[in-house]
């Protein structure tokens, strides 16, 4: 038994360690520093092993801590009409019911199980039971300190606090035993990752039961909860022999793991399939243009769904919001000065909004998967003048697509400013409109530029460039941080316009110098 436990641990650990090393290797600078025989180097292995060990401990406690802080205590403090202890137990009761069948461990097909049982042909029963036992013990140990700590703080009696972890484990054991029994009766093996419609409905109902009644001052009284908890501890104990004596673990695991593998294969192709699906099959689409303009025109027309239609929809929603705000101005005149103040200070906020609305990443992904992925294998397509010609056409087009919502937002902000009482400096209106348009152009240029300069995909349409992902994340972080920036609209707007103009110039120079070399399939 110790041996099985040890093997399954080291197996899980090995691939976790290799996973850590692999992701280290994806970081551009580290990539050069790390040796090729990375997976053999002892020091690195030890380091990754330490990380992996820390993760094992953290996952036992940190997960539970976050669970208590957010789901139980965090939401619990919102209810001021009932005693905190009663809310604490009430929420835990229902969440445990959900967890009992959403998080069984026994019916969760994972990679390590696949490696051990299918590839390495370990004894399925021994492997499953030992890992299950470990998971249940981990649950009890992980829950215990927080049940006591948080429970006592909420004035829950110590005895009940001590009972809680065993109640959680008991509920899981009970559900597992019932599922095994159902399997013996001829049902399909239960897969906690593939819930049906009814199961989701039950989850929804239990969630509602956990959080809605306390808002009205109603909780399940403790003279009901405590016996229920005791009952599940007993049924859990009674379930143990069933789980230990179940004979068909191999078959159950085979079935679950086959489903998982199926899912993993699909996930790999999913992005590609999704993008392929965006191609319109409308036979009426044609174009009168020639050469690259013809190619681009057909591309834009066959990708209406993710390009123009999406853009028009966003513009329409923005118009609708504008109309709504104007109505609010009319109904609640006091709000005008507030909005007026906001408009004069919170332009930085709109950097993030423009970031979120930009169609750039979807555009470049579709460009690659549905177009460049194949055409880049033809030599005519890679000739420098061709690359640049097409870049110019594409840039113009993506800017146009993004400008529509930008124009609505920019114009809308100017209208709002006027309607909320206006401003002394008429320049404000101009700066609002122009800076929003500039932001939109900036994002369009930005995405297409990094796509051409870093061309991150390989022939199998996998993302291969760490640098590209870092640039994307950095873009996100910068835009996100902008939300916290408070700066007069006039100043920020002018700075913003200057930056965008400068960036576009630099980007174009870089493209003309480097894109003919960088715009290649990665190998």
């Amino acid at each position: 038994m110790r041996k099985t436990l040890w093997i399954s641990f080291s197996l899980k650990n090995t691939y976790r360690v290799n996973g850590i090393l692999y992701s280290l290797k994806q970081i551009p600078l580290l990539k050069r520093l790390l040796p090729q025989a990375l997976y053999r180097v002892r020091g690195l292995k030890v380091f990754a092993n330490v990380l992996s060990g820390i993760w094992e401990v953290l996952s036992a406690f940190l997960g539970k801590f976050i669970y208590f802080i957010t789901m139980v205590i965090g939401i619990g403090v919102l209810y001021d009409r009932v005693a905190p202890g009663a809310v604490f137990l009430h929420i835990l009761l229902f969440l445990t019911a959900i967890g009992a069948f959403l998080n069984t461990h026994l019916f969760n097909p994972t990679r390590d199980k696949y490696y051990a049982i299918v590839l390495m042909r370990m004894d399925a029963r021994a492997y499953t039971l030992i890992n299950y036992g470990y998971a249940i013990i981990k649950t009890i140990v992980g829950f215990l300190p927080f049940c006591i700590g948080f429970g006592l703080q909420k004035n829950v009696p110590l005895g009940v606090c001590l009972l809680l972890p065993f109640f959680v484990a008991g509920a899981k054991l009970t559900v597992s035993a019932v599922s095994l029994w159902r399997y013996e009766k001829g049902n399909r093996a239960y897969n906690e990752n593939q819930l049906g419609k009814w199961q989701w409905l039950v989850v929804g109902a239990l969630l509602a039961a956990a959080y809605a009644p306390p808002a009205f001052g109603i909780t399940v009284p403790s003279f009901v909860i405590v016996p229920v908890m005791l009952l599940f501890v007993l049924t859990g104990a009674a379930a143990i022999p069933k789980i230990l004596n179940f004979a068909h673990y191999r078959a159950v695991q085979q079935q679950l793991l086959a489903q998982m593998l199926n899912q993993m294969d699909q996930a790999g192709n999913l992005a590609q399939q999704q993008t392929r699906k965006t191609i319109s099959t409308d036979v009426r689409i044609t174009s009168r243009k020639k050469g690259f303009a013809y190619l681009n025109d057909l591309f834009i027309k066959r990708h209406q769904k993710i390009l123009w239609k999406a853009s028009v929809r966003i513009a329409a929603v923005c118009l609708f919001l504008l109309a709504g705000l104007l109505l609010v101005f009319y109904l609640e005149p006091e709000i005008r000065t507030k909005i007026n103040g906001l408009l004069l200070t919170s332009l930085p906020y709109f950097v993030f909004i423009m970031y979120a609305l930009n169609r750039g990443t979807g555009f470049t992904r579709a460009l690659f998967i549905n177009c460049d992925h194949s055409l880049l294998t033809y030599s005519f397509y890679k000739q420098p003048q061709m690359v640049l010609q097409l870049f110019a056409i594409r840039l113009r087009e993506i800017i146009k697509i993004n400008l529509l919502p930008a124009a609505v937002i920019g114009g809308g902000l100017a209208v709002l400013l006027y309607a909320s009482g206006g401003t002394d400096n008429a320049l404000h209106y101009l700066v609002l409109i122009v800076s929003i348009l500039c932001m939109s152009i900036f994002f369009s240029v930005h995405y297409l530029t990094i796509y051409y300069l870093l061309q991150p995909y390989n022939a199998g349409t996998e993302m291969k460039s760490g640098t590209y992902q870092i640039v994307l994340s950095a873009t996100y972080i910068v835009c996100f941080c902008m939300m916290n920036l408070q700066m007069p609209t006039l100043l920020f707007g002018i700075l913003c316009i200057a930056f965008c103009v400068l960036y576009c110039c630099v980007a174009c120079v870089l493209i003309y110098r480097f894109a003919p070399k960088t715009f290649r399939l990665r190998s």
Binding site: R276, K290, I369, A459, R520, L521
Partner: protein, 235 residues
């Protein structure tokens, strides 16, 4: 015309894939490039097509001792998995290709004549390429490379996954096209190489080496190839 490779080398991290490639290909012949899995056939093609940077060496075309650089338009590269722009129909792809290459295409024909030449059915010509079968995509890719009429045609395992009829059509086509150009055909199916190719070239231990066929029957020729490729293991 000759295609000359001199001292071409390429390594990935510490692994030398192409060590010191020296070879001269002559026009009018189909060369069968044989090598074991992972020997570097695709890497060699990618280097020649300038998809990846080489570490050193050069390659050029030579007519009557006059050297000229190999430009992108001199090379046609057909990949083992056919790649065609999914969002275009067969006809649109051809139209686009012909417009872009209008200045360089010789004996321009109508689009339908090209389709007829390639045995692509009329009802398939206006379907989106994403709905084409593997074999039809392969035909499209081959067609475009034939129209471009490159002096060097690189074919990476092109017949491996085609049905027997299409594979036979392609073989005939390659034979009919070999005049005036250098065709290099990579495969790891020996019988296919012997059937189609005029010369057999081995890629092993990072080097190219021609196998002399004079005075050898098919079986002893095969044995010699196998012996040469096996050496790698013993080395």
């Amino acid at each position: 015309m000759q295609f000359v490779i001199e001292h071409l080398s390429k390594h990935f991290e510490k692994r030398e894939v192409l060590r010191d490639i020296n070879f001269t290909f002559t026009e009018g012949k189909i060369y069968g490039l044989l090598g074991r899995n992972g020997a570097g056939k695709t890497t060699l093609f990618n280097c020649l097509n300038r998809d990846i940077k080489t570490d050193g060496g050069q390659f050029f075309l030579e007519d009557n001792d006059a050297r000229r650089e190999v430009k992108a338009e001199n090379i046609g590269y057909v990949l083992s998995t056919p790649t065609v722009p999914e969002f275009l129909t067969g006809r649109e792809f051809l139209k686009f290709f012909l417009e872009i290459n209008a200045s360089s295409v010789q004996n321009l024909k109508t689009i339908d004549e090209y389709f007829d030449f390639m045995h692509i059915d009329p009802q398939d010509r206006d379907k989106l390429l994403k709905d084409y079968s593997h074999g039809m995509k392969n035909k499209m890719q081959m067609l475009v490379n034939i129209i471009a009429n490159p002096e060097i045609l690189l074919l990476d395992e092109p017949l491996t996954s085609l049905d027997v009829v299409v594979a036979e059509e392609m073989k005939q086509l390659l034979r009919s096209l070999k005049g005036g150009r250098i065709t290099i055909f990579s495969t790891h199916i020996m019988d296919l190489a012997l059937d189609l190719c005029d010369e057999i070239v081995l890629l092993h231990r990072g080097e190219l080496e021609a196998v002399d066929r004079t005075n050898l029957g098919d079986q002893s020729f095969k044995d010699r190839i196998l012996a040469a490729l096996r050496e790698e293991e013993d080395a």
